[in-house]
Symmetry: C2
Subunit: 231 residues, 2 copies
């Protein structure tokens, strides 16, 4: 699965959260990072290139700061110019059909304000309806969003959790089953460069992988017993 991360941020170098997320993406054939304002500083979007890029990927991610309950203007311009009739919708416009679509939002206000009675009054689920509608209209499957509330106030531990959530958002299969989550984790652990680990940590890593696999064997065994009882 190949993921295209379309980032829209007018001042990306000054954004702590964007820089943090970017630094976590390793060089990989599976992930393409594409910053719109950086690619088109004069605002002239190359529509043919953008459409080609979309076709080459299976999961399309919009990553942006949630200003005034929507995207920065550049991403809206991109939508209006790239997702046109005959490409993204309409007669013969099926180029995005079957792909996955998701949002990575950095949000300046705390989560609890996004509800009736809160300072923002509406939930993120309500406020992102226009993007849900884009996914629907173009035939893409809408993923659960990756929501980053008040990054500057996060503890180191919260940031580490965010990093794992973000990595999973970009690369993990969309279903939430234990099997998929374990597979993704083992995959990541196996990919770890052992030379960069402190002495002893490589052993720890190996133990973690074995523990996950052992647990799975136990679960599989229990399932077989259950199946026999039911049979």
């Amino acid at each position: 699965m190949k993921t295209l991360v379309i980032i829209s941020h007018p001042e990306i170098t000054e954004s702590g959260s964007q820089q943090f997320l970017l630094s976590s993406i390793a060089d990989s054939e599976m992930i393409t990072v594409h910053h719109l304002e950086g690619t088109y500083p004069d605002g002239n979007i190359d529509v043919v290139t953008e459409q080609k890029l979309l076709k080459q990927h299976d999961r399309i991610v919009f990553q942006f700061p949630f200003y005034w309950y929507s995207s920065p203007p550049m991403l809206k311009q991109w939508q209006d110019e790239v997702l046109i009739d005959g490409f993204a919708y309409g007669r013969n416009g099926h180029q995005l059909k079957g792909k996955e679509f998701g949002l990575v939002l950095s949000i300046g206000v705390s989560e609890s304000e996004y509800q009736a009675g809160g300072r923002e009054a509406f939930s993120i689920h309500e406020l992102t309806k226009p993007f849900q509608a884009v996914a629907f209209k173009t035939g893409m499957t809408y993923l659960k969003s990756c929501l980053i509330y008040q990054f500057p106030y996060m503890t180191e531990s919260q940031k580490m959790t965010l990093l794992i959530d973000y990595q999973q958002f970009l690369t993990r299969a969309a279903d939430d089953s234990l099997f998929t989550r374990e597979n993704w984790l083992i995959d990541q652990l196996l990919k770890t460069n052992k030379e960069t680990l402190a002495h002893g940590d490589d052993l720890l890593l190996q133990h973690a992988i074995e523990a996950i696999e052992e647990n799975r064997d136990t679960i599989d065994g229990l399932k077989m017993v259950l199946d026999e009882m039911n049979g």
Copy 2:
């Protein structure tokens, strides 16, 4: 009451609906029409001027084609740059508080598609949540929207109805009472330039005004009788 109509349309001269609406606005001290792309062709918004304009008006209207369930990019840029902390929200940011806010949307798809099961899946009410949130955050009262579906397919009669709806949207007091609606109508009829009317139509106009006022007298009379009975 003074109304500011902020129009965002990248190609306004080629838009039949926008030209139709614009042609209906008479020179008036009560309505200011402000086309963003026309005012700032280089995209550099004069924030001080925009904030001054907002302060001078009581009703703020966003008028735009509803592309991808939102505004054109220029209006989003305007929101991000003009509606800033300290002006529109936040500590001491109360400049819009108490004003009225409304949307005039031209929509390319028919009304019946904007529901679950329809081609657009969501209602306009759901899709405009971000604008409702802007009004809430800035302390403005959200008005019912003026929605223009498929203008090119409208009959002449539908277009005349739209014109009256639009005029009311821009200038009529926000409450929907019979009294307010009648007052607005009488006001408009009195303002009509009688020299441009065909022979006999000025008499017709006078009769219409008298009929409305007579009806109101009857209603007022009935109310008094009711009050007496209750007393």
